[in-house]
């Protein structure tokens, strides 16, 4: 037998100006099952809430309906009120008498009638409400960070400094990512490696961080608070417990001409290699695809010269399993190579390079030790043309978005060039200059006013080679589209930032969404930038979209804060508005027939299959089961179910039916 309390709020004059609140309370008070009905000026205030609490206690109320502002505003408030008076908070419903009634209608009988029917509708719903308990999901307080660039490093350090264990997985032999390839960073022209390497060392030495390099994510199962991840540790062919990092193997390796990934193809490395001198960990791995032993069965020089016998050939990849509570994805991005551009030579001109390659030329640890030299003949270029927006903002090339960082790094490149080659001339062909960060505009101004970089507004139609020079044919739109032809020694393309190869497969492994360019999707573009739609998996850095270092670091710390917030609770408490598949006594066990249409409907993979077994362990039937940790409560599965075996707590079939019937009877 229901004993429902009805409380109609005047909300000052917001509701009472057009709705006769007293009449509403009176009329609803006559409904069967309503034990107590009243109206008050400010229900959400302390005296208002006390009114509710008192009524609950005095009249032993089994349910409460508050007619007030939108439930999106105060449902949590009134539910807490009920909870503090000893009534299950999910037995409290809120009727929207303000935003959807008093504020949108004129004063009059029909408005009051509508208010009455809305309150009555929720009274009928409350009669069908069941007391619900919040769901507690245990959390493993260990985080997995995928990707060891600056985003991953920052996130890992932040989480580790909160006292939680972190596993950092990086697919290259060293952490550092693209930031380690940079020469100097805008707008301060800080030496990139100098600011990065202390963090890299901190990661390696941090007691709470377990670093796996040359490793990749193999599989993810489970849900927030409880992910079971499998990590593939690729075979390094070097026993890191013995290796001292002396470097003798690299000196002796006969395969010396392998294009170095770290040097963006401009330099070479050996088959047994450390990607760069400041690598963390500073121990080599063997690149099986270029090693004489693995390819032809010969050589083995490294094992002969190794003073501690650390070389171990033919070890298989190792798989380790870990249980983590949260995952942070920081896999970063890539930039297009010059071969993407038919109009700039299909990549065949050696002196047409991309921005990352220019960074390596400018870098003191690069293939030219920091001197800007042409890759073709090693000469110092006297005239360089930089082309901005190569591929970006170009729907014809399939990349309509802006890559954000190129305007800044092109200005930086031109400045570095002018600093290194005093009599050099640099031209930048641009569409717009996007210098939006702190001190960014001043930086670009410096390039133009102090370093004499010439900015030409227009695009470049073609670059071709003639007599050792690169002829750049563009236009100057500020002079009315006048054709401009420059005989350059080198051309640097600011190519578009794109997602990493393998991003699609990684996203599918983790069941996170991605956009048409394979950048991972955030949960909400404005208000939830570091979360994904999958609970427990967070994003940071350029894997979500191209961005500069300050934004990446902020995002990484943001994601770390989310992880820390998650881990700061004993258990994960979730609202019990979730789907439940019914269970009943044998021999039926459940009306569910195991068609699993609900499984296909669920965007969160929250429907699992449960085998119902007899005492001997034989499977009687396989039915659906909702994982309370994953279900977000959309109810799509409920509408799918033909046998009505799955229902959603808080918006059950009975509740919704009684609401509709009530609306039409009043």
């Amino acid at each position: 037998m229901s004993k429902i309390g009805v409380f109609i709020c005047h909300c000052g004059e917001n509701i009472s100006a057009t709705v006769d609140c007293q009449k509403v309370a009176e009329e609803v008070g006559k409904v069967e099952g309503v034990e107590f009905a009243t109206d008050y000026k400010y229900m959400c205030s302390d005296p208002g809430q006390n009114l509710i609490k008192q009524a609950i206690k005095e009249h032993h109320l089994t349910g409460v309906v508050v007619g007030s502002c939108s439930p999106r505003m105060h449902e949590p408030t009134f539910r807490k009120t009920c909870a503090s008076a000893g009534l299950n908070p999910f037995m409290c419903e809120v009727a929207n008498l303000r935003e959807q009634c008093s504020w949108v209608h004129e004063k009059g009988e029909s408005t009051t009638e509508k208010a009455i029917s809305l309150v009555k509708m929720l009274v009928e719903k409350v009669k069908k409400d069941q007391p619900l308990q919040s769901i507690e999901v245990p959390i493993t307080k260990k985080a997995l960070v995928i990707g060891g660039g600056i985003a991953g490093i920052q996130a890992a350090l932040d989480i580790a400094n909160c006292g939680h264990q972190v596993i950092l997985v990086e697919k290259e032999p060293s952490i550092g990512g693209h930031m380690s390839q940079l020469s100097e960073t805008f707008p301060t022209l800080d030496c990139s490696q100098c600011i990065l390497t202390p963090r890299m060392v901190e990661v390696a030495q941090h007691p709470n961080i377990t670093l796996y390099t040359y490793a990749e994510l193999e599989k993810v199962e489970g849900s927030i608070g409880n992910f079971d991840v499998t990590i593939r540790l690729k075979a390094k062919s070097v026993d890191f417990s013995k290796c001292t990092g002396c470097g003798t193997c690299q000196q002796k390796c006969p395969q010396k001409k392998i294009p170095s990934e770290f040097n963006a193809g401009l330099g070479t490395r050996t088959a047994i290699y450390v990607p760069f001198p400041q690598a963390v960990p500073n121990k080599p791995v063997i690149d099986k695809e270029h090693c004489n032993y693995y390819q032809k069965g010969k050589c083995k020089l490294c094992s002969k010269v190794c003073p501690v016998g650390a070389i171990e050939y033919d070890k298989p990849d190792e798989f380790i399993k870990e249980n983590v509570g949260a995952i942070v994805v920081t896999t970063g991005f890539n930039v297009l190579n010059t071969d993407f551009f038919p109009e700039y030579g299909y990549g065949k001109y050696k002196d047409v390079i991309n921005g990352l390659q220019f960074e390596r030329l400018a870098s003191a640890s690069g293939p030219t030790l920091g001197e800007i030299r042409r890759p073709s003949d090693g000469a110092i270029p006297k005239k360089i043309v930089f082309i901005a927006c190569c591929g970006s903002r170009d729907p014809a090339k399939g990349i309509p978005y802006c890559s954000k960082i190129c305007c800044m790094y092109t200005a930086k490149h031109a400045m570095l060039y002018q600093h290194k080659v005093h009599d050099g001339e640099s031209y930048i062909f641009y569409m717009d200059v996007r210098a939006t960060g702190k001190n960014y505009e001043e930086f670009v101004r410096r390039a133009i006013e102090e370093d004499g970089v010439k900015y030409v507004r227009g695009r470049v139609a073609r670059v071709y080679e003639k007599n050792g020079k690169l002829i750049v044919k563009g236009a100057d739109t500020l002079l009315g589209g006048q054709p401009v032809e420059i005989e350059a020694d080198m051309v640097v393309l600011a190519t578009a930032g794109v997602s990493n190869p393998g991003a699609e497969q990684l996203a599918q492994k983790m069941h996170i969404s991605y956009d048409p360019y394979y950048f991972f999707s955030e949960a909400h573009p404005k208000l939830r930038p570091v979360e994904t739609n999958t609970a427990g998996i967070f994003l940071a850095g350029a894997c979500q979209s191209p961005k500069d270092i300050p934004d990446t670091v902020s995002m990484a710390s943001g994601a770390a804060a989310k992880v820390a917030a998650l881990f700061s609770q004993k258990n994960l408490v979730r609202e019990p508005v979730i789907a439940v598949v019914n269970r009943c006594a044998p021999p039926v066990f459940s009306t569910c027939v195991g068609c699993f249409m609900c499984e296909t409907a669920c965007p969160y993979h929250a429907i699992e299959r449960e085998d119902i077994k007899d005492r001997k362990g034989n499977v009687i039937k396989t039915v659906a089961k909702v994982n309370p940790g994953l279900c977000q409560g959309c109810g799509t599965c409920v509408a799918f179910c033909r046998s009505k075996s799955i229902d959603i707590q808080g918006f059950s079939n009975e509740e919704m039916y009684s609401e509709v019937v009530s609306l039409l009877n009043s």
């Binding site: 038919p342 109009e343 299909y346 073609r462 071709y464 003639k466 002829i471």
Partner: protein, 281 residues
């Protein structure tokens, strides 16, 4: 296998030698070309500059005639005709209304089922092996293959070869023993239809093309377009005046080059009609 043959106005007029060389080569390669009966002008630049419907109807009539005369494929040696016919076919395939309207205008049903080939595609499809087996005099010269504007653009309509650095003619020339050079003006405009109204522009644009050819030491320019040929060949005096030097490099049609390699007589290929003497070959 019969292939329909659409010579277009220029092959019957100023580019007679292209016509002669196409027919001679086809004969040598056992390709049966049959001229489409009652064909009309494709409209070229004139039609599409002044009237949209006219620019679609003229080519559509040619294609409709080809369909009705039972051709599954037609070869169109003139690059402009090839471009106009292909563009028309593409546009009418996208829009049923336009298709109906055009059918009304031309007074016959239009289906859009004929496959349009340029002369390079025809050779690629049917004759590469035959050519290889019949070479008697390899064309051992350095050549600059010039594609011009209309053979490969717009890519979404023609779907033929690479747009910025096409290779089909280059590989065909390699097949007959030539050394195609890598040069910068493969798809740069020769000046096109301005040959009459603004000969100065043609002198400049074609002049730039010939300068690059000359600088890179090519011994012949190979083309597959009558307009390009006449601008680079007939307008050579204006080009020489613009460049301030006499450029002697001859311009040959691809069909003439292949024909020479197969041992066909130069007169049969119409080489004597060129303005720039082909005596170095």
């Amino acid at each position: 296998m019969k292939i329909g043959f659409y010579p277009g106005c220029s092959l019957k007029g100023t580019s007679r030698e292209y016509n002669e060389s196409v027919l001679a080569l086809a004969k040598a390669l056992d390709i049966q070309l049959e001229e489409i009966d009652d064909w009309n002008c494709c409209g070229a630049t004139a039609a599409h500059s002044v009237n949209k419907e006219l620019s679609l109807s003229l080519p559509a009539r040619v294609l409709a005639l080809a369909e009705h005369q039972g051709f599954k494929e037609i070869v169109v040696p003139c690059a402009a005709c090839y471009n106009r016919l292909s563009t028309t076919q593409y546009e009418l395939a996208q829009d049923e209304e336009k298709k109906k309207k055009v059918s009304e205008i031309i007074g016959m049903p239009y289906d859009g089922s004929v496959k349009i080939l340029n002369v390079l595609q025809m050779l690629q499809k049917y004759s590469l092996d035959t050519i290889k087996s019949k070479i008697v005099k390899p064309f051992a010269y350095k050549v600059a293959c010039y594609y011009g504007c209309l053979l490969v653009r717009p890519h979404k309509v023609l779907q033929f070869d690479r747009v910025e650095d096409p290779q089909v003619m280059d590989s065909m020339m390699s097949l007959i023993g030539a050394t195609p050079i890598d040069w910068a003006f493969k798809t740069e405009c020769c000046g096109g239809g301005f040959t009459e109204s603004r000969t100065d522009i043609v002198a400049k644009l074609s002049g730039n093309v010939m300068k690059d050819v000359n600088d890179r030491g090519a011994e012949a320019v190979i083309v597959a377009c009558p307009m390009c040929h006449s601008n680079l060949d007939m307008r050579r005096p204006e080009i020489d005046k613009y460049l301030g030097e006499d450029v002697k490099v001859p311009v040959l049609y691809i069909t003439q080059a292949i024909g020479l390699a197969l041992g066909i007589e130069p007169e049969t290929l119409g080489l004597q009609r060129h303005f720039v003497k082909v005596n170095t070959i």
